[in-house]
Symmetry: C3
Subunit: 399 residues, 3 copies
C-alpha cells in the first residue's frame, strides 16, 4: 500500500478521481430510448437521480456500505449520519490507498447507477414523484446494504463470493429492481394487444451517443475498481473490458443478423452493454481470450432475452432487464467458471441471495407505493405523454 505522503499515493489518488468522473458521465449515457413524448421526463429523472444518489450517499449510504467497526454479523452496520468532516484525515483506516474523499465520491457515483437502470425499465408510464420516492429509498438503503455484504467487508466477501466491479452488486441490484418494477407497474398502454407492438425509441443517434458514453465511462467503472493505478491490473482490466464490449457487439450482431436478416442497431448497442456488464464481475481475473468468450455469450444472450421478455409480456422499454440483470447473472457465474480460486456454486449462491433480497424489497416498495400514492399516471396522461402531463413541456420545438 502506498504511504499517504508518497508520490505513488498521489498517482493512485488522481487515477481514482479520473475514474470517478468517468463513472459520472455514464449517467448521461443512460438517457434514453423512449418515445419523443416522454423524453423530458426521462432526462429529468436522470438528472434527479444523480443528485439524489450523491446527496443520500453523503447523508447515509456511505455509512451503511462501509460501516467500519459497526458490523452486525456482516449483514448490517451503520457508522452514523453524514460523511466525516475531518479533511485533515486523508485516509480511512480500512482504506490506506487514497483519500477518504476520493473513496466517498468514487463509491457515491456507483450508488445512483442502480436506480437509473430501474428508471429505464418503468419509463413512459411511471409517476415522477412516486419513482423519485422509490429511487431515494433504493439508493439510500437497499444498494448500500447489499454493497456492504460484498465490498464493505460483509458476509458475501467472507464467504468467497467474487464480483470485481459489480455485475451483481451494481447491475444485478438494478436489474432485480427493474424486474420488480415492471411486474408491479404493468406494460405501457397499447403495447400488448393481439400482437406485441414495438414502441420504439425516437432518436437512435442519441441512443448511440448514450451507449458510447457508457462504454467510455466503463473504463472508470472497471478500471477504478482496481482501487489503485497498479499498471498490470489496470491495463489488464482495460483490455478485458474492451474485448468484452467488442465481443458483445459481435455476438449480438451475428445472432440478430442470423435470426432477422436485418442487422439491428439497438441490438448491437445492447450487445456492447451486455458485454460490458458481463465482463464486470471478472475483468481482473480472466485472460483476454476468456473476456472475448464472456462478451460474445453476453451479447448473444441479450437477443433471446429481449425477445423472451416480450413474449412474457414484460414491458421493459429500454431493455434494462436483459442488459443488466440477465447479463449480470451471466457475468457473475462466468467469474466462477473462468476465475482462479472462485467457485461457480458460491457465485450462484451470491446471485440468489442478492436477487432474493433486492427483488423482494423492491417489489414490496413498489407495491406499497402503488397502493398508497399510486405508481402510474392516468391513461390520458400516458397517451398524451409524460412530458406534457408531468412537466408541461415538450422535448423538441419546431425542428
Amino acid at each position: 500500500m502506498a504511504e499517504p505522503d508518497s508520490t505513488l499515493f498521489v498517482v493512485n489518488n488522481i487515477w481514482m478521481l479520473v475514474a470517478t468522473l468517468l463513472v459520472f458521465i455514464m449517467h448521461l449515457g443512460f438517457a434514453a430510448l423512449t418515445r419523443s413524448k416522454n423524453t423530458v421526463n426521462i432526462l429529468f429523472k436522470n438528472v434527479s437521480i444523480i443528485s439524489i444518489g450523491l446527496l443520500t450517499y453523503a447523508v447515509i449510504g456511505f455509512s451503511l456500505m462501509y460501516p467500519g467497526e459497526a458490523y452486525k454479523g456482516g449483514v448490517f452496520g451503520f457508522a452514523g449520519f453524514w460523511i466525516g468532516t475531518d479533511a485533515a484525515g486523508l485516509t480511512a483506516a480500512y482504506n490506506p490507498g487514497y483519500t477518504y474523499w476520493t473513496d466517498f465520491l468514487f463509491q457515491g457515483m456507483f450508488a445512483a447507477t442502480a436506480a437509473t437502470i430501474i428508471s429505464g425499465a418503468v419509463a413512459e408510464r411511471v409517476k415522477l414523484g412516486s419513482f423519485l420516492l422509490f429511487a431515494t429509498l433504493y439508493v439510500a438503503l437497499i444498494y448500500p446494504i447489499v454493497g456492504m455484504w460484498h465490498w464493505g467487508g460483509g458476509f458475501l466477501n467472507a464467504w468467497g463470493f467474487y464480483d470485481f466491479a459489480g455485475s451483481t452488486i451494481v447491475h444485478g441490484v438494478g436489474g432485480w429492481g427493474a424486474l420488480a418494477g415492471v411486474l408491479v407497474i404493468g406494460p405501457r398502454l397499447g403495447k400488448y394487444g393481439k400482437r406485441n407492438k414495438p414502441l420504439l425509441g425516437h432518436n437512435l443517434p442519441l441512443a448511440t451517443i448514450g451507449a458510447f458514453l457508457l462504454w467510455f465511462g466503463w473504463y472508470g467503472f472497471n478500471g477504478g475498481s482496481v482501487l489503485s493505478a497498479d499498471p498490470g491490473k489496470v491495463s489488464l482490466v482495460f483490455v478485458t473490458t474492451s474485448l468484452g464490449a467488442a465481443a458483445g457487439v459481435a455476438g449480438a450482431g451475428l445472432l440478430t443478423n442470423f435470426m432477422q436478416h436485418k442487422p439491428d442497431l439497438t441490438m448491437v448497442l445492447n450487445g456492447a452493454l451486455a458485454g460490458l456488464v458481463g465482463i464486470t464481475a471478472s475483468a481482473d481475473i480472466v485472460t483476454p481470450a476468456e473476456a472475448v468468450l464472456i462478451g460474445l455469450i453476453a451479447g448473444a444472450v441479450v437477443v433471446p432475452a429481449v425477445l423472451g421478455l416480450e413474449r412474457l409480456r414484460l414491458d421493459d422499454p429500454v431493455g434494462a432487464i436483459s442488459v443488466h440483470l440477465v447479463s449480470g447473472v451471466w457475468g457473475t457465474l462466468a467469474a466462477g467458471l473462468f476465475g482462479d480460486g472462485t467457485s461457480f456454486w458460491k457465485q450462484l449462491g451470491g446471485v440468489a441471495l442478492v436477487g432474493g433480497f433486492c427483488f423482494s424489497t423492491s417489489f414490496a416498495l413498489f407495491w406499497v407505493i402503488k397502493k398508497t400514492i399510486g405508481i402510474r399516471v392516468s391513461p390520458d396522461e400516458e397517451r398524451e405523454g409524460l412530458d406534457y402531463a408531468e412537466h408541461g413541456m415538450r422535448a423538441y420545438g419546431d425542428l
Copy 2:
C-alpha cells in the same frame, strides 16, 4: 513544490493536462438553448470562440494575465506579444509546479469561457461579425486584465480577495458582459408584447447533454485550479463540486415544483450549473456540508432570478445572467461567509470592482459597435432565423 525532474512533477503536470482537456469539452456544453432556426449560428459562435480564445491568449492574453515582473501597481502589466518559445525552459519562475506550456494551455482554455457565456445571452438576434469582434476584444484584453488582478498576482490578490476557480473572475466576468450585452441589444422580436412570451429552446436532449458535459468538465475547471495533483485538496474539491451541483439540482427542483407544480427540466439543469458556479469560488475551503448549503441556495436563487429578469424584460435566451452572474456573486460572497480567513466585505468589494470594470467596458464596447457597424440583424433576418440569414444553412435536414 515538485522539482522539474521528480516523478511528482510528472504527476502534477499530467493531472493539469487532463484538467485542461476537461475544460476544453465544456465548450461543447455551452451549445445551446436557442430555437431551431438559430442553431447553426450559435454552434458557429461556439467553435469560433474557442479558436479565438486560444489564438488571442497565445498572442497577448497570457502575457497580460501573467505579466511576471512587468507590473504597474498590480493593475496592469504586459510581458510582450506571443508566448515564449523556449521549450527547454520547462517552467516559468513564478510557476515551478508544472510546465510553462501546461500553464499556458490550462489558462487559455479558461479565457474563451467568458465570451461563450455572453454568446448565449445575446443569441438569436446579434450580428455574427459584430459579436465575434466583441468576443475577440473581450477575451484578448478585458478577461486577462481582470484575471491578473487576482490570479496574476495583482491588487485583488494582495488585498485578500478570495476566488478559488473563478465564480467572479470567470463567471462574473462573463455574466457582467452578458448583462451589458442584453441591455444594449434589447429583447428578441415578439418576446415582450402584452405578455411575456416564452421562446423556448428547441432540443432539450441537446441541452441536457450540454449541462452534463459542463458538469463533467467542471471537475477539470475546479480540480485543475488546485494547480497540482495534491491528493487531499483535489479530492476535497471533487467532493464539494459534486455536492454543490447535486444540491443545486435539488434547490431548483424543489422550488420550481413548489412554485409551478410542474417540475421544470430547464430549471434543474440551470440549478446544477448554478450550484457549480456557486461552489467555484470556495470549493477548496469549505466542508462538504457547506458545499451542499451553497449549492442549494444557488439552485434555489436561479429560479426567482430567471423570473425576475423576465419581469424586467431583460431577454436572456439561455439564462446566462441568472446562472453565471447571480450565482457567481452568491458564490463569491459565500466564500467570505464560510471560508476561514476570508472576509465577506472584501469579497463584496472584489465583486463590485470586477463588476464595475467589466460592466462598463463591455457596455461601452457593445455601444460603440452598435453605433458603428451595428449590433443586430434586421427584423426580417431575425424572423427568418440567423441560420439562413447569416449562414445560408439549416441545422436540420428532413428528419
Copy 3:
C-alpha cells in the same frame, strides 16, 4: 526509461491508458454527416468497426504491426496469432515504458480509425456486408502492415521518415482507402446531374458534437503518442495540437467567408479537423507559432479541396478525403519543412510509398468485392435510404 517497479512507470502507464480511452471516444466523433435516411446505417458501421478493429487487432493486427524479431527486411513480419497471454510479463522487450496490455490497447484503438474514415466517404450507397468485409481486411492486414513500416521498426523508420502520431500512417492510410472507395463505388444517385447538388447532412448539432469529441480525443491520439507522461513533451504536444486546431478553424472560416460571404459551419468544423490532422505528424517537433501556421494552411486548404473534389465529381459525403488525405499529406510534408533533422524529400517519399500501397490494395479490394458480391445497394434501396433497406429501422421516431 522507467523501471517497471517505479512510480514513474505507474504514471506513464496510467497516462497511456487515459490517452487510450480518449482515442476510443473519437469513434463516437466519427458519427456522421449523412442524410437522415442513412443514419442508422452509419451508426451501425461505427459501432461495428470499433468492435472489428479491437478483435482483429487482438487476433492478428498487433502481431503484424509489432512483429519483434520476426522481420522480413523491414517490410513484413508476423509474431503469430493472438496477443500474448502472460499477464505476469508486464512489459515487452521492445517497450519497457508501460505494460504490454497498455501497448496493445492504445495501438488497437488506432487501428479502427482508418476504416472509419473510409466509412464516411462511401456512406449512403455502400452495401453493409460488403463494407464490413472490406473494413475487416483493411484493419486486420493493410493498416498494421503499413504501421509496421514506421512504428513497428520497419524500413520507413530506418530511412528517416517522420510521422509523430499518424498524419500519414493513420489518416493517410484511411484517406487513400477513401479515395479508392469513392472511385470504385461512384457518386450517390442524383448528386451530379446538370449541376452538382448538395446532399447535406441532416443534423448539424450532431456533427458539431462529433467534431468537438474528435478534437477532445485528439489530445489522447497525439498526447499518448509521446508514449510516456514526459512533462515537457506531452505539454508541448497539447499546445501545438490545440493551436493547430484553432488555426484550422480560423483558416477555413476566413477563406470560406471571403469566398462565399456566408460563414459555413461545416467548413469550420472541417477546418478544425484538418488542423488536427495536419499537426499530427509534427506535434512534438514544431514550435507553437509553427503549429499555428500548419493549422492555418490545413484549414484553408480544406475549402478548395472540398470544392475541387466536387468539381471532379468525386462524391465524398463527409469530406473524408479533404480532411484526412489532403491534410494528412500536407501535415507530413510540413514535418519535413519545419522539423529539425527531417527531410522534405523523405517525407514526400514516405507519402508516396504509403499512398501507392494503400491506394492500390484498397482499390483492388473494393474492385474484387464489386465484381463478386457487389459493393452498392440497388437504386431503389438507395432512394429509400439504407436505414430501411438494410436495417428495417428509422433513426427518428415522431419528434
